[in-house]
């Protein structure tokens, strides 16, 4: 059976392009331009999905992207909304969350258990006996959830773009189109976005039998399309509003992040369902949904329809249905008095002051029972009668699509006449137009859009909006003793669930939301919040403004993780010598964003041993280009460093280096490095690789707050460096430079030519007693590296990596901040009193250290050796125990190739800090290992 109408003016479908697809294993044909739901409905299908909790048959409700009755999966994607999912050739779709398919869903048995499952039922059962809860939890988890996730689904690459505009207009209905054109004509840049594939909003489907609005639409459409100041973005929804008018527009292939000067929200209103028994039966739909079916998709919604009215909009629906050849068998108006002249002329039976008590039918509407009522929720059963029909179109009221207004901090008020929330005080830069303002009707919407745009441009301020013309019925809710009158279709919440919740103390709108889960489903309350507020207000005996509404949080419509993530972007930094390392068999380690050689070769133990041997007995070289490198210039450069680090730098002689220790205000060690004084007003400072960014940021921040006359230049990326270490380092380096290396002993620094390159040479002793760090511009450093490689071949030069470096420094007894310290370690515990210049008035952390100095130091960092090491060494961070209590931990441990001993660093109780003390380490296998505290450095001082 096909319910396609003859061609409708302005229809979205392309009849020349039929599209084949399957649904629940059945083959169907629709047209390009169809949504899946419209194609299925047009093919005569009624049951398109199952409800979340009771697995009731569900059909089509809104066609407005909050119709969670039809949630689909195709084996890859899940939870696709049929009402807005564009039909595509070859789709193989099925409904989510059924057991054994949509038609024979075995979970439907749950409906019989509905009395057992009131709101919050799961809080009251399943926890006794305790032992059975895991079983019940498993059952509940499997029943809940919607689609079945596919672990093979592709990651995809959604595109992210950025845009700027003067005015962002969201919603391209009459108000939005008018606002965009008004602004564009004033010469500002406008972006106009609409979530629908085609613009126009109600202009495209709300015709009251006469599609005259299509002319207006065509005119506006061509004006917008041809206006150079307007960028039109159909099929993009505004997902949220963020500070300073950042609005992400989400489209089919990606996300456009718009930073707007002003925002005009013209997002319209959501038509709201009426609440009566079986109001979810397939065939009961919103009036606007039936209009969309007819005018967008040329699908006849029903053959014989009852229209349930609560406002004047319903009569426009009647006329659209009538024009489409639907026999409207009854017009039922909740109001006792309504002007029905027009539809009376059509000969339609009119029932004023009546309500629909229930829809009849098992899998689709077969009739309705109506009766007179008082407009307050009390039907008169004596007057009830049944009317046969195959559909019910419901037009009883609206709720504004005001999510972005709320997010921006707009204060809304409840307008009693319109029975709708409308903006009372907008946030700066935010404007609203059209139905969100409670303004309905084409002319009024066009005017309101123009007004909003003029206000946004500052051309008019404080212009009163037109009076609200929308009207929603204050109580479109009919109780029923047999229930199944749904307020929230996502969550299968019936009227009585709200009564239960209120009775159980959840009579605050937020508590009610959390207890019943109203508005927490995929549609986020778009069709349920307003009725929930009405019900709660009545239960509390208070007016709606006192009840308020729940917080509207992003997102307006859900956004795929892939769209939010965009393309994968993981920057990786490589040093100037990277290719050389790779060519020489380096095994790389990731250090922050850097790639560094860990060692050269594939066998770590062998490689590290050989590299250590080279440094101890000949010469080795490591790439240290990743170090933080800064120049500090200016008359107060020394003063900055004097305050920043713990030592003295103002009086530092040119050509010398000093150890630099950085603390936080609590006296905790953050980083260490070297300060070299290059000239009177220029210092060269290094920081560890992993802390380089932090040190630069902190130094910059302090420079600002202290207001010193100095400048910091970050050379981390533009300078490279290498460390040449070992007994032959001096003689080797001498071959390549005229600098007086002997004069650099004890931490000197000199600038000069090395291998034909202008470089800085620093004498440092981190990994070996004799070692030189050579820093040069990044483009030149590799020349020095290669020259050293060449010249060093005859003396056994070997490159070494970070794993070897760690071992070398351990042999030297040096700690690494971050490994041998933690988030609380202070220099007193680490034995660094000698670098604390307490004779100066200030340095970061000094005040805290003065306080700490008055207290006993409970633990200290010491070196230790294992005389009888177990087969597997204790891991770094194994605990140090004393009389069964935790006193510290071992922070570094290694077999020293130089000493043939297991050595390490550990925090021990201060009482045990003296060399010769025995300490107990708890091995990760649970056994205790005894170690002896020894002095550091572990290796002899003579090269």
């Amino acid at each position: 059976m096909t319910l396609r109408l003859p061609p409708q003016p302005g229809e979205w479908i392309d009849r020349a392009t039929p599209v084949n697809f399957t649904f629940e294993g059945q083959a169907y044909t629709g047209y390009a331009g169809d949504s899946v739901t419209s194609a299925l409905w047009g093919a005569g299908e009624r049951v398109l999905g199952r409800s979340f909790k009771y697995h009731r048959p569900r059909g089509l409700m809104s066609l407005a992207n909050h119709d969670i009755n039809v949630m689909l999966e195709d084996g890859t994607a899940i939870n696709m909304r049929g009402d807005v999912l564009p039909l595509a050739r070859g789709m193989e779709l099925r409904a989510v969350n059924t057991l054994g398919g949509l038609k024979g869903d075995k979970y439907a048995v749950l409906e019989w258990m509905a009395p057992l499952l009131p709101a919050g039922f799961y809080y009251k059962a399943f926890h006794k006996p305790k032992a059975l809860f895991p079983f019940w939890e498993n059952v509940i988890r499997r029943m809940a959830g919607l689609g079945v996730m596919n672990p093979q689904a592709p990651r995809g690459e959604a595109i992210k773009q950025h845009r700027h505009c003067d005015v962002l207009v969201i919603g391209a209905g009459p108000a939005g189109l008018s606002a965009a054109l008004t602004a564009a004509k004033k010469g500002v840049r406008v972006i106009l976005a609409d979530e629908n594939a085609r613009i126009g909003g109600t202009l495209g489907y709300d015709h009251a039998g006469q599609p005259t609005a299509l002319e207006t639409l065509a005119r506006l459409q061509s004006e917008v399309a041809s206006h150079p100041n307007i960028e039109l973005l159909p099929a993009h929804y505004a997902a949220g509003w963020y500070t300073d008018h950042l609005v992400p527009l989400v489209g089919p292939s990606g996300m456009i992040k718009v930073r707007a000067g002003k925002v005009v929200v013209a997002m319209g209103a959501f038509e709201q369902p009426a609440v009566f028994r079986n109001n979810d039966l397939p065939g009961v739909m919103l009036g606007s949904a039936s209009q969309r079916l007819i005018h967008r998709y040329a699908v006849k919604p029903f053959q014989r329809a009852v229209v349930l009215a609560g406002n004047d909009q319903a009569q426009r629906v009647v006329m659209d249905l009538h024009q489409a050849g639907v026999e409207v068998v009854a017009y039922v108006d909740l109001r006792p008095d309504a002007d029905c002249t027009v539809i009376r002329q059509l000969g339609i039976p009119i029932y004023l002051g009546n309500c629909v008590q229930e829809a009849l039918g098992k899998h689709a509407v077969e009739g309705v029972r109506i009766s007179r009522w008082d407009g307050q929720g009390h039907p008169d059963p004596d007057t009830s009668m049944t009317i046969a029909c195959d559909g019910v179109a419901v037009s009883v009221g609206w709720a504004p699509a005001a999510a972005l207004l709320y997010q921006s901090g707009c204060k809304m008020r409840f307008d009693d006449a319109a029975q709708q929330f409308v903006p009372e005080r907008l946030a700066p830069g935010m404007f609203a137009a059209g139905r969100v303002n409670g303004i309905y009707g084409l002319e009024a919407a066009l005017e309101d859009g123009e007004r909003a745009a003029r206000e946004a441009l500052g051309l008019a301020t404080g212009v009163a909006r037109a009076a609200e013309t929308g009207s929603s019925h204050p109580w479109p809710i009919v109780p029923h003793t047999a229930n199944k009158n749904f307020l929230d279709f996502d969550e299968d919440l019936q009227l009585k669930d709200f009564e239960t919740a209120a009775q159980e103390s959840f009579d605050n709108i937020e508590l009610m939301k959390r207890f019943t889960t109203v508005g927490m489903g995929p549609s986020q309350g778009k069709h349920s919040n307003m009725n929930a507020i009405r019900v709660l207000a009545r239960l509390r005996g208070e007016p709606i403004p006192k009840v308020g509404s729940t917080t509207a949080r992003p997102f307006f419509h859900p956004v795929p993780l892939g769209h939010l993530a965009g393309r994968t972007f993981h920057p990786e930094r490589r040093t100037p010598m990277h290719d050389w390392h790779a060519a020489h068999g380096a095994t790389f380690a990731t250090v922050g964003v850097w790639q560094r050689p860990a060692y050269y070769g594939t066998d770590k133990a062998k490689a590290v041993e050989a590299e250590v041997k080279a440094v101890r007995h000949a010469v080795g070289m490591i790439d240290v280009s990743t170090l933080g490198k800064f120049e500090v210039h200016g008359p107060q450069a020394g003063e900055l460093l004097e305050r920043f680090y713990t030592g003295h730098f103002v009086n530092q002689r040119v050509g010398t280096t000093r150890y630099a220790l950085l603390l936080d205000e609590a006296g905790v060690m953050l980083d260490d490095g070297i300060v070299a004084r290059l000239s009177n007003d220029c210092y060269y400072v290094t920081a560890s690789t992993s802390n380089a960014a932090t040190v630069y940021r902190e130094m910059t921040r302090r420079l600002q707050t202290w207001g010193l006359e100095a400048t910091i230049v970050n050379l981390t990326g533009s300078y490279g460096g290498l460390n040449l270490a070992g007994p032959h380092s001096q003689s080797l380096l001498k071959l390549l430079t005229d600098l007086d290396l002997a004069a650099l002993a004890n931490g000197g620094v000199a600038e000069g030519m090395v291998a034909g390159v202008q470089a800085r040479v620093i004498n440092v002793r981190f990994v070996a007693e004799l070692a030189y760090e050579i820093h040069a511009p990044a483009q030149d450093i590799a020349r020095i590296w290669l020259a050293l490689e060449e010249a060093g071949r005859s003396v056994g030069l070997k490159p070494f990596g970070t794993d070897t470096q760690r071992l070398l420094r351990l042999e030297m007894g040096h700690f690494i901040i971050g490994q041998d310290t933690d988030g609380l370690t202070n220099p007193l515990e680490a034995g660094l009193q000698w670098v604390l210049a307490n004779d100066k008035p200030f340095y970061l952390g000094q005040r805290s250290l003065k306080l700490l100095a008055e207290k006993p130091v409970s633990k200290r960092l010491v070196g230790f050796m294992l005389e009888a090491p177990p087969a597997t060494l204790p891991d770094e961070c194994c605990l140090v125990l004393r009389a069964g209590k935790i006193v510290g931990r071992l922070t570094s441990i290694a077999q020293s190739p130089t000493l043939g001993q297991v050595i390490g660093l550990a925090y021990v109780a201060s009482e045990d800090a003296a060399p010769g003390s025995r300490i107990t380490i708890r091995h990760q296998n649970g056994r205790d290992v005894v170690a002896t505290v020894v002095p550091t450095p572990f290796i002899g001082v003579a090269p």
């Binding site: 949220g240 965009g566 609590a666």
Partner: protein, 413 residues
């Protein structure tokens, strides 16, 4: 089918009583006043009544019950901390959690899933070893596991994290659990109310009546009440209360954000945390993925959401689970996390006699709910800090005896 549901179904009317009495008026005086109707405040009220017989107690809540961080956290419960003080405290909490549904006769959906803290670097592996060893020493089930164990527990996990951050191992904490956060507040509130505690929502504290360094009463939006004991359990609002009391704490407020996806059928049965990727994720009983990340790096006293948070989080989640690209995020939100310099809470007495502080929870107040209630009730009733909270006293900042829990933060904050 459980008995309680049958009972409900067979009765003609809804026979369920109200969870809490909602008295119309404040009494002129109470033996104790608790500021903050979140999990902590209500738990303290419950234990005051149950274990100390103190029932003339008022709980004052500015908004609605559990509307602060109780209802905004990602509901992870664990005790795999780094300091002995932290481990002992949270272990005691886990032990209370395990029987709490039965004790409160409300199903809190306390679900023990196991908790993996993934390590992508050698340095993270060292921290995992440290935590595991401290935990074992304190009798808490934690161990360092290799990639094979992780992959077996979460076959869907991309162990290379899309090639960017290969997983080297993890700290596995078997008792790691999740629970239904709102129900915790309701359960404690109901039980406290049944014992006589009075709960007032929409009641804001506007000032403290302090005389000669002693608390004498509380000014509220509904009038002034006399009391000799006040507990402040207001998380992100703590600076406002301490300002009223006239003393400072080192607490600073940072936003902590989270988000949740549409529901899907169960597939993730454990709790996963990655410090390097700044992600934690679990699947709720409803089927949603509940996800969080690190603190916003700046002080803000508001609960606004940011787009860059959810963009960054999504990118990292997809590194771990690339197939989730089409799964949609439904909602994002933020809470105000009251951070301390050492990442441990502030609990116990204050410079004002009779005023007690339960604050500084930062990112892990939820898991402490029962034990904080129990220990604060003890502290209030006896005017002596409970032994489990000695390490969390406010004085420790003055005395430099910090309890360094930064290393146990679920993600690098």
């Amino acid at each position: 089918m459980p008995y309680q549901l049958l009972k409900f179904a067979l009765s003609k009317k809804h026979p369920e009583p109200a969870f809490f009495r909602q008295p119309a008026e404040l009494k002129p005086s109470y033996d104790a006043v608790i500021i903050g109707g979140g999990g902590h405040g209500l738990a303290a009220a419950y234990y005051l009544a149950k274990e100390h017989g103190l029932t003339n107690v008022a709980v004052l809540e500015r908004g609605y019950l559990g509307g602060g961080n109780t209802g905004r956290n990602t509901t992870i419960i664990r005790s795999n901390y780094l300091t002995p003080e932290g481990v002992a405290f949270y272990d005691a909490s886990v032990k209370l959690w395990e029987n709490l549904s039965q004790e409160l006769d409300l199903n809190l959906f306390y679900s023990t899933r196991g908790h993996f803290t993934l390590a992508h670097t050698e340095s993270a592996m060292r921290t995992m070893r440290w935590r595991a060893e401290v935990n074992k020493q304190m009798g808490v089930e934690s161990e360092v596991v290799g990639p094979d164990v992780i992959q077996a527990a979460v076959p869907e996990l991309d162990m290379s994290c899309s090639g960017h951050a290969p997983i080297l191992g993890a700290l596995y904490h078997k008792p790691g659990s999740v629970a239904r956060h709102d129900a915790v507040a309701w359960g404690f509130g109901r039980a406290a109310s049944e014992m006589g505690v009075e709960i007032f929502q929409n009641t804001e504290v506007t000032g403290l009546d302090i005389r000669n360094g002693r608390i004498a009463g509380v000014h509220t939006s509904r009038g002034t009440i006399k009391t000799g004991k006040v507990l402040s359990a207001v998380a992100g609002y703590t600076p406002r209360i301490t300002k009223m009391a006239g003393f400072d704490t080192p607490i600073v407020i940072h936003p902590l954000q989270a988000c949740v996806t549409e529901p899907m059928k169960p597939w993730l049965n454990t709790i996963l945390v990655s410090g390097s990727l700044h992600v934690y994720v679990s699947q709720s009983s409803r089927g949603e993925l509940v996800m969080g990340a690190s603190l916003d790096p700046y002080e803000v006293h508001a609960t606004r959401s940011t787009l860059d948070f959810v963009e960054g989080l999504s990118s990292h989640i997809l590194d771990m689970f690339p197939f989730l690209a089409g799964i949609k995020v439904v909602r994002q939100w933020a809470g105000m996390a009251d951070m301390t310099p050492d990442f441990a809470p502030v609990m116990g007495k204050t410079p004002v006699e009779g005023l007690y502080l339960d604050a500084g929870w930062g990112t892990w107040g939820f898991k402490a709910t029962p034990i904080s209630g129990k220990t604060m009730a003890h502290t209030l009733a006896t005017d002596k800090p409970h032994e489990l909270i000695h390490g969390f006293r406010l004085d420790r900042f003055r005395d430099f005896e910090l309890t360094g829990e930064k290393g146990a933060a679920s993600v690098g904050h």
